[in-house]
């Protein structure tokens, strides 16, 4: 196992009296698809929020490529190469799909002062944006206003915006949330196509998806890691948990 690209040590976060990250040690190895599973309220999204810097941990450290980023603001982490998608669609509703992704590309293309050229004619932004839309299968809707896209298309757009900067680590927070059967099938194919090309942290509820895609799985319960390992090992471990702790812990 090579050195982790992104790791946390003793990560702790409290919301009032509630412990949502309980001394978490979490490692992401370059190139892997690392799934994080656990029941509702296990602290999965809170973990993502702390990794990207939208939430500051109460204790513990976060390292990226060997560098302590615990105190870095969100935008700096993004520029270093950590990119995220949101569980609840978070796009720019007044912009077209293409404009959304071009804006995401703009963030990683130097400062935005001084240029008077219309963005829609900036090859440096439009070309990668079109490629990212193609990658997620949304090319046909590139000129549609984001507000008018269907739910599944929003999820695809989320992903395109996270992908366009070619991040070193991709944090995907339930990319299939609220999707219908057919839509999630194409999203699963999409996630499978990312595997190996990107380092991915995937928060997901659907166990079948997780076991089919993940190289490694971390199980969170009440902010604590109760198991971490290969899908096979976790499956075995879950059987054990089911036997001892009942359905609730096992079903996720």
């Amino acid at each position: 196992m090579s050195a982790p690209i992104l790791s946390t040590r003793g990560l702790t976060k409290r919301f009032g009296g509630l412990l949502v990250s309980d001394c978490l040690d979490f490692d992401v190895i370059p190139g892997e698809l690392h799934a994080v599973i656990g029941p509702n309220g296990a602290g999965k999204t809170t973990l993502i929020n702390q990794l990207i810097g939208e939430l500051a941990p109460d204790a513990g450290t976060i390292e990226f490529e060997g560098r302590d980023i615990t105190a870095l603001p969100t935008y700096r982490r993004s520029l270093l190469g950590i990119s995220r998608s949101y569980q609840i669609t978070s796009v720019f509703p007044d912009f077209t799909a293409l404009e959304n992704v071009a804006l995401a590309a703009q963030a990683h293309d130097g400062h935005s002062f001084g240029s008077w050229r219309p963005v829609s004619r900036e090859e440096r932004l439009v070309r990668p944006a079109l490629a990212a839309l193609e990658e997620v299968g949304l090319s046909a809707k590139k000129d549609a206003c984001a507000a008018e896209l269907a739910h599944g298309e929003h999820r695809q757009l989320e992903l395109a915006m996270a992908l366009v900067s070619r991040p070193k680590v991709l944090l995907l927070d339930e990319p299939m949330a609220g999707m219908g059967g057919l839509e999630s099938e194409s999203m699963i194919r999409l996630l499978a196509s990312l595997k190996g090309r990107f380092t991915v942290v995937l928060v997901e509820h659907d166990m079948d998806v997780v076991f089919a895609l993940a190289d490694r799985i971390t199980v969170l319960v009440y902010g604590k890691t109760i198991a971490s390992g290969s899908p096979g090992a976790i499956r075995a471990s879950i059987e054990v948990k089911r036997a001892y702790l009942g359905e609730r812990y096992a079903s996720g």
Binding site: Y75, S78, Y86, V91, V119, M161, S165
Partner: protein, 326 residues
């Protein structure tokens, strides 16, 4: 999708160009019919249109509700007033001082204001403007509460003169035209897109990797400088600098003009300023309680047209199937 056309050949851009040419003809027309009053009226519209356009940059495109933009009108007006009082009548010096002070004040207050959002942002911009209002009132040697009469208009040297009303008119028109043209370029370019993004989804902008604070402050400084220049024009127009220019109701008037004409549209602020100034002039001839009539008109427009009067035009155009220009 922006409501503003990108192509210079779109019918709306041509309509706007015709409108601006008509404005350029106002002094000729009013001279021909012997009514110099119209030049004065439209100059007033242009000056407030310029101030409203500067406010629209932060309010309309940045979603930053500045309730203290009159502060910069005051900075421009007092730069002219105080320098003239001490015998400095060179307009270029007036301009440089106006820009430097506006930039400094907007930069420092902007850094503080951007730490807040929503109601707090509105209140803190209001508070800064009121601070400068009372500063103006306390300047006893410069007229205090009564304001400061300016004996001679800014002198811009041999190139052009604003000592006559026509000269001032064309200076105001030129500045408005330049500001509107640059705003149009701005909203389609990177900085404008970024600013629209912060208005729509600040959290996502940060996650995408934008250091949003510096851009918001930069937009605020640009806006403050343009509004300062409007203040410079206002002082030359009235031959007067007064703390009343900085009073909070003036900041309110500017917001009303932007909303009336069409928030986040290029031409909206100018249209709003025109409607506001004309209604004020016409209605106040009948009654001193003209606000009683203007108030409901504003409410009606705000309810019926979410992008103001100019926005109504845009909506008609985009619902027309024969014209799908974005």
């Amino acid at each position: 999708m922006l409501p503003e056309a990108l192509s210079a050949r779109s019918p709306r851009v041509i309509a706007v160009a015709v409108f601006m040419l008509l404005l350029a003809a106002v002094p000729l027309i009013s001279g021909a019919i012997g009514q110099s009053y119209y030049v004065t009226l439209v100059t007033r519209i242009l000056i407030f249109g310029l101030a409203a356009a500067s406010l629209n940059l932060v309010l309309g495109y940045g979603g930053l509700v500045s309730f203290g933009h009159a502060l910069y009108l005051g900075i421009g007006a007092y730069s002219v007033g105080i320098l003239s009082f001490h015998g400095v009548s060179n307009g270029w010096i007036h301009l440089v001082v106006t820009l430097a002070l506006s930039a400094l004040v907007s930069f420092l207050t902007g850094l503080v204001c951007m730490r807040t959002s929503g109601i707090a942002f509105i209140m803190i911009t209001l508070a800064f403007a009121q601070m400068f209002y009372f500063l103006g009132v306390s300047l006893k040697q410069y007229g205090g509460d009564d304001g400061l009469t300016i004996a001679q208009r800014s002198d811009f040297g041999p190139l052009f003169s604003i000592h006559g009303n026509t000269g001032l008119y064309y200076l105001a028109l030129g500045l408005v035209a330049a500001t509107l043209y640059l705003s149009w370029r701005f909203v389609h370019a990177r900085f404008g897109r970024l600013l629209l993004g912060t208005k729509s989804n600040l959290r996502r902008m940060r996650a995408l990797g934008f250091p949003v604070l510096r851009y918001q402050v930069a937009a605020y400084v640009i806006s403050g400088c343009i509004c300062g220049v409007a203040g410079l024009l206002l002082a030359n127009f009235t031959n007067f600098a007064s703390p009343a220019y900085m009073y909070w109701t003036v900041s309110g008037d500017l917001i009303v003009m932007v909303i009336l004409g069409g928030i986040a549209t290029i031409m909206g602020p100018l249209v709003g300023a025109a409607v506001y100034v004309i209604l004020e002039t016409v209605l106040s001839a009948y009654t001193q309680h003209w606000m009683v009539i203007l108030g409901p008109v504003i409410v009606l427009i705000a309810l019926l047209a979410n992008r103001g009067l100019y926005g109504l035009l845009l909506a008609r155009e985009s619902s027309d199937p024969g014209n799908s220009a974005p």
